[in-house]
Amino acid sequence: MNAHLQQLLNYTRREFFQRAGMGVGGAALTSLLATDLLAKTPAGTNPLAARKSHFTPKAKNVIFLHMVGAPSHLDLYDAKPKLQELDGQLVPDKLWKGLRLAFIREQPKLMGSPFAFKQQGEAGLPISELMPHLGSVSDELCLIHSLKTDHFNHAPAQLFFQTGFSRFGRPSLGSWVNYGLGSENSNLPGFVVLITGNVAGAGNSLWGSGFLPSIYQGVEFRSSGDPVLFLSNPKGMTGEDRRRIIDSVNHLNKVQLADVGDPEIATRINQYEMAYRMQSAVPELMDISNEPKHIHEQYGTQPGTASFANNCLLARRLVERGVRFVQLFDQGWDHHGSLVKGLKNKCKQVDQPIAALIRDLKQRGLLDDTLVVWGAEFGRTPMVQGDGKAPGRDHHKDAYTVWMAGGGVKRGFAYGKTDEIGFHVAENPVHVNDFHATLLHLLGMDHERLTFKFQGLDMRVTGVAGNVVPEIIA
């Protein structure tokens, strides 16, 4: 093989930029290279290679826990004694007049939380009795009680929460981060998605790459079947067979490369090599049976089953291996009725593993670099929905709670306040755009500079809005 070809095989990914210049864009090329963030990337490096952020980051990785369906902030984090007092009373006229809700059509009554709140730790943040384990690590949490979104239907609100836009077509937060920072692991994708239960309403678009090159989209690691689609060899074909076939493919591709000289071929050769490495790296990652007993006890994991607990443990294993953005979706939090039973049941599934994840990350020294985010597409109303037997709460967009932990946020801290019934933000509102801006900031990126040229505009995850919330940053 001559020197030129060898050079191509070495630098290969430069091709990515070249093709980008033809495909989605001229767009890709101009903005990738125009952004100072990426201008630092030497030409010819992997588009997924780790890149420097705009400024020194507080966090390197993100584990984002999205509770699909939207749990009640009023029963988990935002204690409202006054609401308790007003339990059973009609919502005041002045609040009701002109109010649009997703389901409730007639002037409803208020419903106090049927659950008690407990204060644990030094900071003494009140956390619902439904989350005793989480309460025990509450000193690590940074609660934001004043999140606001624009949408009160699931799918649009999920899209808004994950892509900053309520309709289809925009890149997800994880793909923005992947695009901005690349991955630290060359055998695994930079953005991995783990799902328990059904897929959320807005579907794969929640981890799609929108107008960004699709190399940045999330890759679902599944708990049954192939962990990554098409990872395992066809029945009857061994790993050795696969190696020989890839060798043959690559050999013939090299012949072709020598003939036509297109660097795309060199890239392809490297991708086949990476595919082969993934075939062993992914199963190794997914196999949690080698974790010690105390870890399994801590998380409540059972190897070989599909559970939120297993996904939490996998999340730790992923960030440990340098995967940039790990997104967990857990379905089943839409409690229009039977709130007591439903919420109890769901909390039981997630409380212990989430607390274990935080402890485990901390114990390994990973929590400083890893931002754990817990949230949902919206909150729930202080008003009751449904008959007296199995009351629930409706969707609520004007105020709800999310929390972060690790990765440069204040510990044992609560930010923002809702009014006395938890309906409106009373103090320090944080819009979803602000939340995104802050999250990127923690990763060392300026949300106004993390842009991609599309349709003649420098597109951002925050659209034309978003302000970093400095108060929550440690």
């Binding site: 033809m22 897929v199 098409f230 086949y272 595919a275």
Partner: protein, 870 residues
Amino acid sequence: MYGSFVPRIMLGAVSVLLAIHLVTPSTCRAAPIPAAKPGRTPQVDFEKSVRPLFAKYCQDCHGPDAREGGLRLTNRKNILLRNDSGEPAIVVGESDLSILIHRVSTQEEKEQMPPADVGERLTKQEIQILKQWIDQGANWPTESEAPKHWAYVPPVKNPAPEIQGSARINNSIDAFVVEKLNWQTSPLTQAAPASPARLLRRVSLDLIGLPPTPEEVLTFEKDPSPAAYEKVVDRLLESPRYGEKWARQWLDLARYADSNGFQADQLREMWLYRDWVINAINQDLPFDQFTIQQIAGDLIPQATLSQKIATGFHRCTTCNVEAGVDPEENRVNQIFDRVNTTGLVWLGTTFECAQCHNHKYDPFSQQDYYQIFAFFNNTPLEVRQVGKSVTFEVTGPKLALPLAPEEIKTKDELNGQRIAVQKQLNARQKELTNAVAEWEETTLALLENSEESATVPDSIQKILRTETEKRTTKQTKSLTQFQQQQDQTYTELKKDLNRIQTELKAFEPDSTLVMVEMPEPRMNNLFKRGDFLSKGAEVTPQTPDALHPLNTKGTPSRLEFAKWLVAKENPLVSRVTVNRWWSQFFGQGIVATQEDFGSQGDAPTHPELLDWLAVEFMEHNWSMKHILKTIVLSATYQQSAKVTPELLETDPYNKLYTRGPRLRLSAESIRDNALAISGLLSTKMGGPPVYPPQPEGLWRHVGRNAPKYLTSTSEDRYRRGVYVIWRRSAPYPSFTNFDAPDRGACVINRSRTNTPLQALTLLNDPAYVEIGIGLAKRLATKDMEAGLSDRERIAYAFRLCVAREPKAVEVDYLTKVFQQELKYFQEHPQAAQKLIAVDHRPEGVGASRMAAWLYVANILLNLDETITKG
């Protein structure tokens, strides 16, 4: 503005003017106001007195480079536009009512302009000048306006340049391209022509999305003359496969899918529209008609069925029917999507910004946006609440295809039968009811006999033993059901009825979603900040001022809008369209930002060529086939795709067309191509979507009535990608891995990535393994009686996969691989049997040979060259 105390009427104005900043103090001074003469105010000179004020105080935020709050002081039209507040900055002749005057004179810190923290304010004198200027009519001479952006000036067809020398000039495309090559500081030359085999493969994949057969390649290699090539091109353009290939790109634009999107993402019946697109492209329906029918086919007088189906274009929009949705909000979002898509597809313009505020860069105001919105605002709601429940369902106009006369006849007969059987069934039911007491007695008596009693379930026995009055409704019902089940006459009638009903289902007419205009038009308003709940000023349907006029009497309709889109005066539509096709051949548009021809988009690399193609397109009756043929007949297209290190240096992105295109195929084409190579491809056209194999568990989705993925077993399994079911929340996974979008929104240009997941897909996707087996069979059984050698079979395999004759080293290598594998499998027959199921072993070919061929097939289907057009 949350929680602001500012009176509502001023709210908007505040938001605009808050954004005005002061420029750094400059030496520029406004001319003094001439001394007032009693009874007559002197005329203010705009250039001398007003412009300097704008330049000094306002320009940084409201000038050519910025449009804070939607206000831009660059010409008279812009200053009169409603800005983001929904109000214009000035009211001509009424300085007292002009917000601009209020904002520059107010002492209220939150409202003042320029903002307090920015700097100096206007003097009283200066404010007086502005007031006078407004009161005198706000005169702003047009001479000082900036020249029009190139894309808004209609294209002109300049004669192609004369080219001296030996360059191959097949048509004007080459002249324009070669001229630019000659102009380079160190002039460049065309690449050599591609070899006949490569060229034939390239043009086949480009025009019909399928490879040539080895026989076609051999024929063309014997006579690769220009005349023979043109014949091939004509044949390809006439092939029904052509429409299937080119529909794919259009369906991305149309965001065509077989599901609604959002929460439940239930399936919708829409494929008649997909078939319409394929047929229209196959028939080369002139693009102006193609447009008019899709935008407003329903409004064409005496619209045909086909013209109505065409309007499915804008019914492809997603629709949210999740519980608790607001149908009006959903409707407004759908129209936003329709307006934005129309802007992208026909005008290469991003209207979206103007949803909330005047476009920051391009000459489209928020008012323009809602005036276009108004054209689309008269279709019915598409979401309906089911009774008073919290359940919602898709509604809106649906077109059912009429049945053929014989179908109607059969259906009527079946319906007659159904009614007759139903009557008998009712009668029998009545008889049973009347005889219930007697039956109960008999049955109870039976229970005495232990053997007989075994036929009566315990639950029924229990009910029987309960007194009639004490039975619950549920129990009574179960008992009645049991009684009916026991009655032979009843069960047979019921069976009959079921059969008839199943048969009737086959006569359900096919249907598709279409546009229908409501008799009473809706009121049209601007939505402040794009929020459908805050209605602003009223608007009427109208096209943007910046583009060619829409000449009409009275209120124009959606049909007139459609005709306006494809009027010859439209400077954008033909350029945008030919540019998009060009990109399919060369991987990039002449304008690289295909979705944006505005001031922020890229300039054309070959402006005269773009205009030449655009005018050529219109002059040839908007014929797509004519333009595609012109492109593939050019020498530019027919160049070899070889890349040298020098070329990578001088023309890295092939923007000068120094070589032929070499590009990875699209997701669907990769699969179609592999199916064709393996001999499995079915060319059956049209009809409901098909379900090729995909891994289990991908369709697990929140929501009621979740559809199931029922893998096709017939030839549907092997049909072209354009027919594969497209569920937005979970599109076909191997397509997604090769950059197919989710079709939730209009996609002008797919990305073209190169990833390990693609490698895994081609290596391991069971669908590709099946295709590999197909190819293995084809190779193993080729001309069996002729006794082809393995080497010959391998050479043939190359021809199938990459068309060209393989190099000796390639055949040598693969033959060696084949023999090694064969030897291994012969020594390990069990391994071969594991790999090759019994029904995949053709007669005369053992499992071992098949296994070895499968390896060869797997290798060939994974070659970069196989999935690349080069």
